[in-house]
């Protein structure tokens, strides 16, 4: 139940509007348990597939909605930057203020998009796991072909969002003044960073790490353990986390 627990944790910590959009892993697991003892094999499998399809549909709809939003917001941010750079009437103070706002918005926007990619990934992982469980329990051969289908779904084809993420990064590089950083700055920054979208992304990163820790069924087909170079730094961001993430 490790993944299930992690997923639950993640869902609780994620953005409020997103909480209903994740995979119903627990329920599907229950169903798989039921099916393995059921006599009407064919019908149960069809039901299971039906539910999975509904989940996929749910993912797709949500993902594409968000994607559309991001496309719009991305463009708008670029417009804002252009406007700010071109408007000569504003004073230096106003300019700085607006730039600060833009910077914050870009970073949050970037974080949100990354969270969407994370959403996609977690749901995919959940699907792969539940399919594996199904095959294991029922001796069926549902997983392989079904997962092929999943791979092509809009919610898993995250190329566009990733592209937008990278573009944000490029924009950020241009907008951020390069400067040296003192240690005290870092501490203050750490405190501030424990809020908002940042908290979500840190949590997501830790969840990912946990999910990929060695499991009992680890095989050549499992993902390798996730080793993050700056583990301590990321952990330090969790000081404010209400849920202890081990």
């Amino acid at each position: 139940m490790k993944f299930g627990k992690r997923l639950k944790q993640h869902v609780e910590e994620t953005l409020p509007g997103w909480r209903d959009m994740y995979l119903n892993y627990k329920d599907l697991k229950k169903l798989v348990k039921m099916i393995s003892s059921s006599i009407e094999y064919g019908k149960s499998e069809a039901e299971f597939v039906y539910l999975l399809n509904n989940e996929i549909e749910k993912f797709n709809v949500f993902f594409m909605e968000q994607e559309e939003d991001y496309i719009i917001r991305h463009k708008e941010l670029q417009q804002r930057i252009k406007k700010v750079n071109e408007s000569e009437a504003s004073s230096q103070g106003e300019y700085e203020e607006e730039m600060a706002r833009i910077r914050k918005d870009i970073v949050d926007f970037h974080g949100e998009m990354v969270l969407l990619v994370n959403y996609s990934n977690i749901n995919y992982t959940g699907m792969a796991k539940i399919l594996k469980k199904y095959d294991k329990r029922t001796g069926g051969l549902l997983r392989l072909p079904f997962i092929q289908k999943v791979l092509e779904q809009p919610f898993f084809t995250t190329e566009l969002v990733s592209k937008l993420v990278k573009e944000c990064e490029t924009t950020m590089d241009e907008l951020f003044p390069t400067m040296m950083v003192a240690v005290e700055m870092k501490e203050a920054a750490t405190m501030m960073a424990g809020e908002g979208i940042f908290r979500n992304t840190v949590a997501a990163l830790m969840t990912m790490k946990e999910i990929r820790k060695g499991s009992s069924t680890k095989s050549h087909f499992s993902l390798p353990t996730l080793n993050l170079p700056d583990n301590e730094l990321i952990r330090s961001f969790q000081l404010n986390s209400p849920i202890p993430i081990i």
Binding site: E68, E76, L144, P145, E159, E169, F221, I234
Partner: protein, 430 residues
């Protein structure tokens, strides 16, 4: 086995739509990255279908069959919005299954299905053959007198087709070989519509992009003129134009913004006007309307959007007051830090995703080998060409299984359970 695969005419129609709709520049990025995916396809699908049949003791292969409930005729070249592709729902299929092989293929959703000569029983093996073998499928367009009995039992057309004349339909099938034949293999892998190049001819043993497993079905970097449309897996049989899911692209959005600006801004512009101005085929006023709404919201409440990060909104209010205390430098540094973590997360996500793709690719490859071996028997087993071998050795992140000899789930099942294989095969032929 009463397998009744449905041909998704939507796909071919969508292809036509792409044909006529615009210069659809389909550049699935994954195609470039993973060209090797294309190669094992033809054999795989045929093998896998047999595989599927073996896994289901009856009807459960339904999930692979698209329920074609579109309302478009193949003959229509009008812009087409696929409504439902997708996986046949259990309830509808159970309806199908209640009929015998001989009976009509009518279901709740296909009441108008024409009166097929229902008396020609097709032995299931024949059915399988008519679907599975890619080589056979190729023959369909060329054989002028299409063995109608084979065809009619292999295809489950949509409602509209029901209304069509049987003869017309077979004629079309013969004619639209480009559009149609790839669909046969797609019966298995139900992809989304708005599929690739209309020019994509299907070659026996070769690969068409239809068979690309990882290809994103929606052209994301296509020109504005092509509307990427995603069909929704239908809920319960037929549904009319309920909610065509459209996938927006930045280019499309650019065109949208241009159109809006031409019409005087986001407040003044009307959906109808924008639709007309954009001149993009396949775009409906519904799409434009909802997009315009989002656009307006985004403009008048710049960052963040109304949904979603409510947390950030409240925290940003806190931040503002604390902002006065902290210096600009600190803020910038915090942002920089945040950015770093997010970048890291994104990086890991991409790596993870690539790994997952590779894992599945390897699984598919093993599956194909497995099927090949079973089918041709040990003496006739031919090693796959090196071109087909997915090269997994290059990636340092790769978990490191050897595709052919490494112990793995599928691999061990291959070697260790030689006895069970005949059992599985027996199931297939039952």
């Amino acid at each position: 086995m009463e397998a009744q695969p449905t041909l998704s005419f939507q796909r071919s129609a969508a292809r036509q739509f792409n044909n006529h709709g615009a210069a659809s520049v389909r550049s699935p990025p994954l195609e470039d990255k993973y060209p090797k995916f294309t190669n094992p396809q033809p054999n795989f699908t045929s093998g896998a279908v047999g595989h599927i049949f073996s896994s289901s003791s009856g009807m459960s292969s339904d999930f692979h069959f698209s329920s074609v409930v579109s309302h478009t005729n193949l003959s229509e070249k009008a812009p087409f919005i696929p409504q439902s592709s997708g996986i046949l729902q259990s309830t509808t299929l159970s309806n199908y299954m209640k009929e015998s092989n001989n009976s009509s293929w009518c279901t709740d959703s296909l009441p108008d299905f024409l009166d097929y000569p229902q008396n020609t029983p097709i032995p299931s093996s024949n059915l399988e053959h008519s679907i599975l073998q890619s080589e056979d499928l190729l023959d369909y367009p060329q054989n002028a007198p299409i063995q109608s009995s084979n065809l009619e039992h292999s295809i489950m057309p949509s409602e509209d087709f029901g209304k069509q004349n049987w003869q017309d339909w077979t004629d079309q099938l013969i004619n639209e070989d480009d559009a149609m034949t790839p669909d046969w293999n797609d019966i298995l892998i139900d992809t989304n519509l708005a599929d690739p190049e209309p020019k994509m001819a299907y070659h026996a043993g070769g690969s068409s992009t239809n068979l690309m497993q990882t290809q994103p079905p929606i052209p994301q970097s296509s020109g504005e003129t092509c509307i990427p449309l995603t069909p929704t897996p239908c809920g319960s049989g037929s549904q009319s134009n309920s909610k065509p899911r459209m996938r927006w692209t930045p280019e499309l959005h650019e065109a949208f913004v241009e159109a809006v600006n031409k019409l005087g801004g986001s407040e003044k512009a009307t959906p109808k006007g924008v639709l007309k101005q954009m001149k993009v085929e396949g775009l409906t006023i519904y799409h434009v309307k909802s997009h315009l709404q989002k656009y307006r919201t985004a403009r008048y409440r710049p960052e963040p959007s109304s949904e979603g990060p409510l947390e950030t909104k409240t925290t940003s209010v806190e931040d503002l007051s604390s902002l006065e205390l902290k210096t600009g430098l600190e803020i910038t540094e915090a942002l920089r830090l945040q950015m770093e973590v997010q970048k890291r997360l994104h990086e890991q996500l991409e790596i993870q995703r690539n790994l997952q793709l590779r894992i599945e690719e390897q699984g598919r490859y093993l599956q194909m080998m497995f099927e090949k071996q079973c089918k041709s028997g040990t003496d006739k087993f031919t090693a796959p060409s090196s071109a087909e071998l997915p090269s997994l050795q290059a990636n340092p992140n790769e978990p490191g299984p050897d595709p052919v000899t490494g112990p793995s789930e599928e691999g061990s099942s291959m070697s260790a359970s030689g006895a069970s294989q005949p059992a599985k095969r027996a199931k297939v032929n039952a």
